[in-house]
């Protein structure tokens, strides 16, 4: 389940009004989420939650659900 807060952060960076995130959603499915915007999204998520990820953990990420799990674990 993707939280509204995480969704809002991602949409804010990508300047999208709305997008339906499912647990299987990967970055390539979301308009504008490419290798260049990925780092900005990760930084924005860290700022929003006041956490800091390990680089090797975020390299492994494949789906938005995995990002949510990482946020939940860090929180």
């Amino acid at each position: 389940m993707i939280s509204d807060k995480l969704k809002k952060v991602i949409l804010g960076v990508l300047e999208l009004d709305d997008w339906t995130f499912t647990p299987e959603t990967t970055a390539s499915m979301v308009p504008g989420w490419d290798s260049l915007s990925h780092a900005r999204i990760i930084s924005a998520v860290e700022d929003a939650y006041g956490i800091r990820f390990q680089t090797r953990d975020i390299i492994r990420l494949e789906t938005v659900a995995q990002l949510q799990a990482l946020v939940d674990k860090a929180g």
Binding site: S35, H38, A39, R40, T55, R56, I59, R60
Partner: protein, 464 residues
Amino acid sequence: MFFNDASFVPFLAFSVLLVHLTRARWRWVTLLLLSVGFYATFQAPGLLAVLAVQACIAWGIGRLIDRTERNPWRWRLFLGGTTGLLAALILVRLATSSKGLAASSWQKTWLPSAIGVSYFTLQAISYLADVYLGRMKAEPNPARLATYLVLYPKLLQGPIERASGLLQQLKSPRLPGYDGLRTAAALFGWGLFKKVVLGDRLGLIVDPVFAQPTHFAGLPVVAAVYAFSFQLYFDFSGYTDMARGTARFLGIELSENFRGPYLATSVTDFWRRWHMTFSRWLLDYLFTPLQLSWRRLGTLGTAAALFVTFASSGLWHGFAWTFTLWGLLHGVYLAAETLWRGLRRPAKPGALSRLWGTLLTFHLVTFAWVFFRAPSVGVARTLLKAIPRASLGGRGLFLQLGHQWLAVTLFACLAYALVAALRSRPVFAKASSVAAVRWTAYVVLLLAILLLRQDSSTYLYAQF
């Protein structure tokens, strides 16, 4: 043995026959034996030893990473394995470089060239990284891992394949039916046309100018510089088509490596279309870790990661100032584009803006190719300085080639452009679904190869 050597045709026919006669579960063993045999034709026993070393490092370290639970140890193992793989590559490169052991008889007998080594080393590193990152399980069978590294259609110049995809295919290659064999032959023929008709013909304009830079000025230099951009594309993408066609004959699908690179509207776009499996490798295993480590720096961090990544990619091509400068130029282009994009809001570019972007990108890339092709930075500088000088001294180059040669080369290039432009259109698919049209095209392609070829036995990218 290269794909355009006459001896390759019977080797390919023998491979196809053997693979078709082998039971599905043992086909990878047949492919391993064929690949080792193919590599052995380069008469460099040292290369087979290097392959065995790299396969052993990748297999052993991969298994250890898989069995280790604690992250710091997994990281140390990955780092140790990657260092070992890179050290072997660097040693081979140094030994085979012109300043290396060129004069020793040992080197001439055992390691006359480094052909294929950098390609299977990159693939071994990607395998270790994927195991370390948990993207795949370590391969339990060392011989099957070696088959992934040495598979002969992609051995000399890629495409650079991921272990997860190719190992899965190797477990049971699906043999092609009639349509598969037909499209494999067509892809191979199309690649051969690009290499021996287009690339090798353009090489006749390029080679004399880069070999004797002080003899030419003005138009011949401009022609050679532009011609090299296209020669390299036809040579390398032609090879890739032949590699993909060969693999398809054997029941393996290899990745695409080129997608109209000179139509790119930016240098960033160019790297999404040129040597795609290499740029994907750089992106996944070098750029992304750097960019994510420097994420707090925002756009500046991304630009710095791009610069470091592409500056390093120059070194992968060889330890020479020419390749270093080529890599640095692309690093600067990409970093500047990223910073520029960060300053302005994205807007959908119009047709004129796209055309300008394509022309500018092509010229930036072509400028960098001068350093890539030149035997030294001095030669590149001499040629670039000679461009604005009007001179009739180079007319001999074109007179020597003759009007007929120029007309045929121009016609062949236009025919290629026409087919390339139509290929993605529905009319092409419709026409090629008619057997008579298809077979007429195959016969024309075969005649063009036989009558217009300008055979050269080397491939520009095989040296890397």
